[in-house]
Symmetry: C2
Subunit: 399 residues, 2 copies
């Protein structure tokens, strides 16, 4: 009998209890082993929940119970989630988590502690919610060198951008609806400012490169400045605007950033709408593969948490290779200013644009936009933007 404890009984925590209960029979059959959900740590009481009798308020009850071998941390935030995770790993308990903040910030240390203690720290649910992406990157694309990963990694912002494009709603109106539907928090900053996507991007970059970048150190733009005019210009050129977490591995360095991008209709990410997520991986042998599905939500995220729990139970009596990451040093990172891609410039007037920018031009409602034919660096794009002066409305990277 394997005993499991959950830390946190919020959306993902209660979903995890539900998956473990609802699918208990088929999971135990697959494993050939039984499990028991022994404790749920939460500050609150849940007298009406069928799991109410397992709720405890003192973390030490879990930490000090030698019967508990797997702990699922779904508290969110860095503290005490990080501290509890560390304590569990040091006590020889396996930990699985959906907490991208902890993984992206403390992943190197926690993986190392897990290794030293002969246990595992797994985090499939931290990127892409229910979409299998972390284990496939490790196991299925193991025969490949990863070149690039581009992902729609945040469901809230994708819902807002889809509403702006399809319903002509402004950013503010679309955000309000997302909040009403429960897709966005009262304070939506982590989503709309790209912070959540940045955490997921560095986790993907670490899986591809072995080096974890501090998510606070990468270039991050959110979606708050995107206007309806921008989405219309996107459509004119056959693009759609998506918030893209991007990482690229060159021969000797690593790039990672989050920003809105103009995604061409030929790119499979273009059609991933609403709260769905998609992760497009470009690898040297397989080419492009994409993983698509619900990037958030109670049961999808819980599905990934429980997949990690099953993975641990299935391999409990065997050795297994630990995830080994290093903290990325400044010298590991490419100079962001030299990142090259095509750009779309949107300006107030079109007279001088054709002369200054080499590319396709389209006009719309008194403004005009140009998509450059050539890839240009961040530095060149900034210079170009400067030279356009007051005429510049916005500029986008093309994916």
């Amino acid at each position: 009998m394997v005993n499991i404890a959950l830390l946190g009984f919020g959306v993902v925590g209660s979903g995890t209890a539900e998956v473990l209960t609802e699918n208990k029979k088929i999971i135990e059959e697959r494993l050939g082993r039984e499990y028991n959900l022994k404790y749920i740590l939460d500050l609150r009481e849940f007298p009406d929940s069928p799991f109410g009798d397992r709720v405890v308020h003192d973390f030490n009850t879990i930490l000090n119970d030698p019967e508990v071998s797997i702990v699922a941390e779904m508290m969110g935030g860095s503290h005490p989630a990080y501290d509890f995770t560390k304590a569990c790993l040091m006590a020889g308990k396996n930990v699985v988590t959906s907490n991208k903040e902890v993984v992206s910030t403390f992943g190197v240390e926690l993986c190392e502690i897990a290794k030293q203690n002969g246990v595992r720290y797994l985090f499939e649910a931290s990127v892409g919610g229910g979409i299998p992406i972390i284990r496939p990157l490790i196991n299925d694309l193991s025969s490949n060198k990863i070149n690039k990963i581009s992902g729609i990694l945040n469901g809230t912002t994708n819902y807002i951008l889809t509403s702006m494009r399809d319903k002509g709603e402004s950013f503010e109106d679309a955000l309000k609806k997302a909040q009403q539907l429960g897709y966005a928090e009262a304070n939506p900053s982590a989503d709309v400012d790209g912070i959540d996507a940045a955490r997921k991007t560095v986790i993907l970059a670490a899986l591809a490169s072995g080096k974890l970048i501090d998510p606070k150190s990468i270039h991050v733009e959110g979606i708050t400045k995107i206007t309806l005019q921008d989405t219309k210009f996107a459509e004119q050129f056959g693009y759609t605007i998506k918030l893209i977490g991007y990482t690229e591995l060159t021969a000797d360095s690593l790039i990672a950033f989050v920003s809105p991008r103009m995604v061409p209709a030929t790119n499979p990410l273009c059609r991933i709408d609403d709260v769905f997520n998609g992760v497009l991986v470009d690898a040297n042998m397989v080419g492009e593969v994409m993983f698509y599905g619900p990037g958030a939500g109670k049961l999808p995220t819980a599905s990934a948490v429980v997949a990690d729990i099953i993975d641990i139970i299935a391999a409990m009596d065997t050795t297994h290779k630990s995830i080994e990451w290093k903290q990325a040093e400044p010298c590991d990172l490419a100079d962001f200013e030299s990142y090259k891609c095509r750009r779309m410039f949107i300006v107030k007037e079109n007279e001088d644009i054709a002369a200054k920018l080499n590319g396709e031009i389209k006009a719309l409602d008194g403004a005009c936009a140009c998509v450059t034919s050539d890839v240009i660096t961040e530095r060149e794009a900034a210079e170009m933007a400067n030279s356009l002066g007051d005429a510049l409305i916005s500029v986008y990277r093309v994916l």
Copy 2:
């Protein structure tokens, strides 16, 4: 040092040699172990190949070499591929394969022999080429009950259907081009008649249900009867025609079949074009997730073969859970005649249709089509088709 032998040095075999060589450094780093490509079995000589010196013509050289612990079978066809696989497994060698014919026909027996001999039989490359789908179904969706799987599983037919839709080419012209481009064989029957898709469908159904159905026993329609008129009607209604391998698990039975389907624009399979494949999985906790990528081709398929090799090497000193399938009995299968979905009827004249069929009607070039509002069974659809008599041009299942 792990010694590997390849059976077959055709497209996938030579690709596998290339992946093992090209990415040797990063793969060995990931594994912490070295490997050696010791033999390649083929009837031909390859004096100009860098692997020419490893070519052998006698299977027994490989079978009787105790140093060889992993054999990759990429010969195609049932015999001698099945016989060689069986002999290798019985001799305690792990086998990986891209051969869907062998897996779909002899999978139950070969998995059982592997288990008895303490070795593994893996076949990630047998479905979806380079797309990770088999291992994700086993490992990542392990917390779910699989409800349905719908897949675009054959790149050749998807290329033809895309050409018909986008370029207005007839089936015959599109097939000719596919042959010129090397996407289709001189004898295209296995692709265009749906046989290849049927093999992959029963493998997916077995992964979902644990029961392997004889691919020859399922309902299989190919794409040879699809006309340009059909593709135009599809467009009129906002659908696109795709060859879909489909499986569905109900409480007590299993359905599996292959046929062209009208795929609505809201279904993510709708936008998977050209030679790409996509597998959409509907599972009880995660909801819908999709896996997309190159479903065939030298390096993509080899990427999956080598992922299996890596999986075996990584777990060589540990125990591992074997795949255990049973052969599906007639009583396991649902009555196909009771399969329910919406239908599109295309008929010569439209006068009587509205009265006979309850649904949306559109006319085009002297013909007309109706998509039923209700789901109807195969039996009901056949009766309806009968009652339309000579007026019926074609009928499609809607996905």
